[in-house]
Each structure stands twice: as structure tokens, then as C-alpha cells.
Amino acid sequence: MITIELPKSLGLSVDGRTVVEINEPCATVGDALAALGRRSPGVLDRVVDEQGDVRQHVNVFSNGESIRFLDGLRTPTADGSAILILTAISGG
């Protein structure tokens, strides 16, 4: 299982929850976000743009590391991975 935690401050949630459990196989962070999008396309719209790129002022962390400094959406995931989505300080 992989968990995706959504930013609480801006009201994103899936079925009222800000921590989403992904139980399908995901090899990468991109796979996990795609699974999130199948659960809630609207939430995914707000995290990535129509080209599938993480929005400029959104940061995605995998097990505490920003994927910008790893392999982006190709960053590998494993069972137990924790993905955290936060808004960047650059956007406000």
C-alpha cells in the first residue's frame, strides 16, 4: 500500500479524507498520482497540469524527499511509500 497525503490548508480531499490509500501496484510516483486521479480526477487536475507535469507551485515528496531532486514522476515507489503533496512557498 502507498499513502498520498494531500495539503490540508487548501481543502483538497478524496471522499472527505486528506490521506488516500493506494492499494494497486505502483512502480513510480507518477503511477501513484495516476491512481489518485482515477479516484478523483478533480484533485489530480489541481496537482498536475494537462501535460501531466506537477504544477509550478506544488511540491511532491516521496518518503520525505522532493521528487524534483529525485527522478521526478519517475521516482520509484515501493510498498509502504509515503507521498506528501504540499503547496510551495513560492506561490502565494
Binding site: 489541481r46 494537462e50 506561490g91
Partner: protein, 375 residues
């Protein structure tokens, strides 16, 4: 807008739809347009570059382009004068994946012709035109512009590569003109299938070739529906008029302190009268001599006169952006503008005198009007 009240006598009042860098505000007037009540901010923290009220076909719908600084730009709408707003699950204005582009900002919302009550247009960044044929429920990009052969060579202005102006021919449903910073003016005569650059005579001071086919930084184009072929253009540098739907342009910067500026507004009932707010240079971008002056022509650009009564003429380092100057459509129209310093001004005598309507707002980027009929 249609509002119901206890009185049976029909009367009209005006709402100002004010977009700022930190949300939208609605200012509601009394009948005399003397007192204004400020409501908002709506979309607190969102940049709102475009607002539009659609009263066609019995609608009472207000559109807002709300750009969440984190989660992107979305079109929102209200059916109750801004008391509540739609919160679409999915974003409705999106580039197709194969275009390789992603929406950065919605810059303009324009209703279709009166005969096309379900048609709407949006101008966006990166520069593209989106069309809706169902009152704003679904949107499609105009393919002719999306795939235009010039598109790879369009360069962004300081505000981005934005399609900010949409001018419809009320007499010819196949003709439309758009303006892009910094690509210039394009016109279609076949309903949007093909688009041709229409920049002959418009200067591009910042390019080696000062009069290229395209690449001009057009800031705003206006016309009057009763004389649609006559266009007025505020350029990055330059003030122009065209009498042939943009086939050629003539310099009309006679008597203005600067031919640089953004905002331009047509008088709603007089095709000879246009308003601008000149700014000093493209680097300073503030009102010349620290005086806030609206310039008005009443002879289609042959001459311009400053309108200063009621406007600060000392230490007024103000900026009025391209969509922040507007007019209502009443018989005795109000002219309104907002500044980047958060002030709103209005005139009820064609610009001869002005009054401050609000102060302390976030930086104003657009001002639009809606006429409400109260019964």
C-alpha cells in the same frame, strides 16, 4: 442581472466587477451611481484577470477566471450575483495533450454575438482562443490559431504570451479579431478556420525590423458595434486607428504625453469617443509627471484631451492595466477604471469629472460592468 425588490417600478443600477491580484470584488451602486457598496473578496488569494456578466437569453450568470496560485486557473460562475460560485470538479479549459501546452492563465472572457446566445470565447495564456457553444459548460481550442504557422515564433510580453483581446464583428459571424502580446493582431474572415496577421503600420520598437508581419506587442483593441470596421489600438509603443478592420493602421498619437499604455475603452454610445490612460515608458509604466490623467478623443483620434478633474495631479505614480478601464451601458454611461494601487474611479459625465469609488483594494487588473434591472 435581474434583481427582485419590493418596488414595482423598473429601474437600473450598475455593478462593477473588479478583478484583483488577490480576488474579485463586486461594487453595487444605488440608482444614481453615487453610493457604492463593496462586496468581497471572492476567491480570496486568487488572481482574477477576467470577469464577465452574461445576461443573454435570460441568463443571469457572472463568469470569473480565478487563478489559484498553486492549483491553476479555472473558470467559475455565479447565478446569484456572486453570492455563491461554482466549484467545478474538473477544469473545463484545457489544452489538448498533443499540443504540448498547459493553461497558465485565463485573460479574457467575451460573450458571442447577440445572435449566438450560447457562444462564449476565452483568451488564454499561452496564447490561444477557446470557444464554448453551450453557454460555458464545455470548451474547445480554436484549431486555426492553435496550429498557426506563426505560433512557434510568438514571444511573450512582460505579462506572458497571452491572448487578451477578442473583437467580434456584429455584422459578419465569420469575422473576428484577436490580439496577442507579443504577436500582434490576427483576424479571421472564415469563422476561425484561418487567421491572418493584421499589423501593417504598427511599430515593434523592440525588434530589428520595426514593421514586421507579426510580433507587435498590442495591448488593447476596441471598436464600436455601430462602426465595427473602425478599430482603435493601444500598442506597447504607439496609438493607432484602422478604418478597414485592421488591414492597415495609422498613428493617432496626437497630443498625448506618451504613446505607451495598456487600457483603452470605447464610449458605449459614441463611435468617435475613446478613452486611454497613457503611461511613461515601458520600463517605468507609471502615469507621466506623476499625474493621473485619462485622455479622451471625441474625434476618433484626431486629437486627445486630458481629463483631470477629481483625479490626483500630484505624486500619483499610478498604473492602469489593459482591462481596468471600462464603461457601463446606461443612456448616461459611467466610465470607470482601477489602478494597481487599488483605487477605483468613476465618471458620470463622459470623463469630465471623476470621483474615487474605492481605495485600498489589492492591485486591480480588470474592471467590468453589469447593468442590473430592479423591479
Amino acid at each position: 442581472m435581474n434583481e427582485q425588490s419590493a418596488t414595482a417600478t423598473p429601474n437600473q443600477s450598475v455593478a462593477l466587477l473588479v478583478g484583483t491580484m488577490k480576488g474579485a470584488f463586486l461594487l453595487r451602486s444605488d440608482e444614481a451611481r453615487k453610493k457604492w457598496r463593496v462586496e468581497g473578496p471572492h476567491f480570496q488569494g486568487f488572481a482574477v484577470y477576467a470577469l464577465m456578466h452574461d445576461g443573454r437569453a435570460g441568463r443571469n450568470r457572472t463568469f470569473a477566471a480565478a487563478n489559484n496560485p498553486f492549483f491553476g486557473s479555472a473558470l467559475r460562475s455565479s447565478e446569484d450575483h456572486g453570492r455563491t460560485w461554482s466549484e467545478p470538479e474538473r477544469y473545463t479549459i484545457k489544452f489538448p495533450e498533443e499540443s504540448g501546452r498547459a493553461l497558465a492563465q485565463i485573460w479574457q472572457i467575451t460573450p458571442g454575438r447577440p445572435t449566438e446566445a450560447d457562444t462564449l470565447y476565452c483568451g488564454v495564456e499561452p496564447a490561444a482562443l477557446f470557444e464554448s457553444r453551450d453557454g460555458g459548460e464545455t470548451w474547445q481550442p480554436n484549431q486555426g490559431l492553435l496550429m498557426h504557422e506563426h505560433q512557434p515564433r510568438w514571444q511573450p510580453g512582460a505579462g506572458g504570451l497571452c491572448l487578451h483581446t477578442i473583437v467580434l464583428d456584429p455584422t459578419n459571424p465569420n469575422r473576428m479579431l484577436i490580439a496577442i502580446s507579443a504577436a500582434g493582431v490576427y483576424r479571421t474572415d472564415d469563422g476561425g478556420k484561418t487567421w491572418n496577421a493584421r499589423n501593417v503600420g504598427v511599430r515593434a520598437e523592440f525588434l530589428p525590423d520595426k514593421y514586421p508581419e507579426f510580433g507587435q506587442c498590442v495591448h488593447k483593441v476596441v471598436h464600436h458595434p455601430s462602426k465595427p470596421e473602425r478599430l482603435f489600438l493601444q500598442n506597447h509603443w504607439g496609438l493607432y486607428r484602422s478604418d478597414d478592420w485592421g488591414d492597415s493602421w495609422t498613428d493617432i498619437a496626437h497630443g498625448v504625453p506618451s504613446d505607451f499604455g495598456f487600457a483603452m475603452q470605447m464610449h458605449p454610445h459614441d463611435p468617435e469617443t475613446v478613452y486611454i490612460v497613457p503611461l511613461e515608458s515601458d520600463m517605468f509604466r507609471c502615469t507621466p509627471e506623476a499625474k493621473l490623467r485619462v485622455y479622451r478623443t471625441t474625434d476618433a483620434g484626431a486629437s486627445w484631451d486630458p481629463m483631470t478633474e477629481g483625479l490626483p495631479q500630484k505624486n500619483a505614480y499610478e498604473t492602469v492595466l489593459r482591462d481596468a478601464l471600462t464603461a457601463d451601458s446606461l443612456d448616461n454611461p459611467g466610465i470607470y477604471f482601477g489602478t494597481r494601487s487599488g483605487k477605483l474611479f468613476g465618471s458620470l459625465d463622459d470623463g469630465a469629472t471623476w470621483r474615487e469609488l474605492a481605495d485600498g483594494l489589492p492591485p486591480v487588473v480588470c474592471v467590468k460592468t453589469a447593468v442590473m434591472t430592479q423591479q
